[in-house]
Symmetry: C2
Subunit: 330 residues, 2 copies
């Protein structure tokens, strides 16, 4: 039994109004629960709306109310199967954002920078995930002329509101962890053109120097296991004598570990490896990967709270979130 839907000529409030013998306005009030309308009227109108399967035209409402109750989230690239745990910004950041937007009855539209430029969605504000290597991202978002917040490095730029983890301290913690194990010849693997990664490297280097040690190598790497694998090979090929590695992400760390092992170095015996993010999977790896945990969930919540505040004319401030050592085996 196929209940075919005559989707075509949507019924409008005008139609309902005629049928109910009231004005369009009364229909609008009745359906939106305005207490001014007489209960009997409301009931009648609602029943007629129900019968006709009426849905308000959201586009029309958005135009009239000058608000879409929708926030845009600009992500840098499209997630895919192989990358799902290796992206710089994981699902859980989106999860935090979504949680908070949802509980404020806001919708979330996902977009990429090119799409945002080519086909801007109707939104009241924007969350930009990552400053990116190019300043394009921030600039394009600024051009849109609407409120926005950024996930990334808090850089004291008063122009915009930023939320991010304390990457510098994260780097320091990684260094202290390795130093505490007696490691002295440590390398860094990760793409430091990325602002957040640069912060991690900076903190790492500072703490090393503070302890009279130093970073014996820094190799760029994509945010993937494969990237870490290759970077470790480069590191060893260069003849670096290392007993510790700080990887910019857990996926990278896993790749590094795999490469080290293939080259006959045991982890953590010969080389200790610490990652970043506390990605799901880090704990399952063999050996379980020691990591610096970011609170993605709270990050997402903060981003959403701040963009909502901005759309309401408030002036939220940038915020840096603490990170935490997750001690495991590697």
């Amino acid at each position: 039994m196929s209940r075919a839907k005559p989707v075509s000529p949507r019924v409008t409030m005008d139609d309902l109004a005629k049928e109910a013998g009231v004005s369009k306005m009364t229909v609008s009030r009745a359906l939106s629960g305005n207490p001014l309308v007489k209960p009997s009227t409301r009931e009648r109108v609602c029943k007629i709306a129900e019968v006709h399967g009426f849905r308000v035209n959201v586009a029309a409402r958005n135009l009239r109310q000058r608000s879409t109750r929708t926030i845009g989230v600009v992500i840098e690239m499209t997630p895919s199967h192989d990358r799902s745990m290796s992206e710089p910004y994981p699902l859980s950041l989106l999860g935090g954002i979504m949680q908070e937007l949802t509980s404020n009855a806001y919708n979330m539209v996902l977009t990429t920078l090119p799409l945002f430029v080519a086909a801007p969605p109707a939104v009241d504000g924007l969350i930009l995930l990552g400053q990116g290597m190019n300043e394009d991202a921030v600039e394009s978002v600024q051009r849109a002329g609407m409120p926005y917040v950024i996930w990334g490095s808090v850089d004291g730029n008063e122009d915009h509101v930023t939320v991010g983890s304390d990457n510098v301290t994260g780097g320091r913690i990684a260094a202290q962890h390795l130093l505490a194990q007696g490691r002295r010849a440590c390398a860094f693997v990760g793409d430091a053109t990325h602002l957040e990664i640069a912060d991690r490297l900076r903190g790492f280097g500072e703490a090393m120097v503070d302890a009279g040690a130093c970073v014996v190598g820094a190799v760029p790497s994509a945010f993937t296991q494969e990237g870490g694998y290759q970077a470790a090979q480069v590191l060893i090929a260069e003849g670096a004598r290392i007993d510790g590695v700080f990887a910019a992400s857990d996926a990278i760390a896993m790749g590094v570990i795999a490469a080290l092992r293939e080259m006959g170095r045991s982890v953590p015996h010969d080389v200790a490896v610490i990652g970043f993010d506390d990605a799901p999977g880090a704990a399952l790896f063999t050996p379980p990967v020691t990591s610096i945990r970011q609170d993605w969930d709270r990050g997402g919540t903060l981003l959403a709270q701040k963009i909502l505040a901005l759309t309401k004319g408030a002036k939220p401030i940038s915020e840096t979130m603490p990170v935490q050592l997750k001690l495991r085996i590697s």
Copy 2:
């Protein structure tokens, strides 16, 4: 230097028209690249628009064009850190959808069922991820009176377009794999109230029976490692003598393996375990988890293609996608 933005009284096409000494219409045409406008006029208009930082009001355009170039994706629950690899529908399904929508210049709004009901976003069509245990989902989406497609079990219901993996065959393959290893006493772990999971169990059972074996136990489980862990304990506590387990997802499989090991059963020696999804992490687990791979990416692409086709008045058909054994150690 803070270039504060006077966000307030947005400039409209009317304003530009006055300044350029042309009509609103010409401004609209010029900015949308309509070839009818004289190049010199277009240039003048565009320059003025640029100077004023003009952005079209997308809500107004949406209303007028009766299209939002946006597709809604209804997900069952909010993703979070712990669940990121254990959800029934992972990031990569969204990735496939996003890829396809993006290349058609469509935006994607993520929503949940309650939010969709409470604050419907302005969209031209819907993708529903999962039929859910409650029929609510499908019904709520139908009520919206707009085109939709569903990810899940293709059930011959002509009312809607569905895309999904061939779960029945997936179950058969799992059975054949275990049987080929000489396993005869196999159990199933997973929530069979979920339509797709029920299909997997059905195929599994059929193939077992075909081979003269049978399913010695079926324990429900949430889509998490924790769920699998508990289910395996139940299974053993019930005294089941098993040498094989088919888990409804890889996360569940990992939990099952962990529990079996703690109880002194070795995997795969005493008990072989096969999962489903080929989740990232399955290959990294110890032992690497044998799995049935779903092509999430293609699934997402198909969903997007079909919903776009529907919004254009075409009549796409439901589609079932093949699955594939990923042979590993477990």
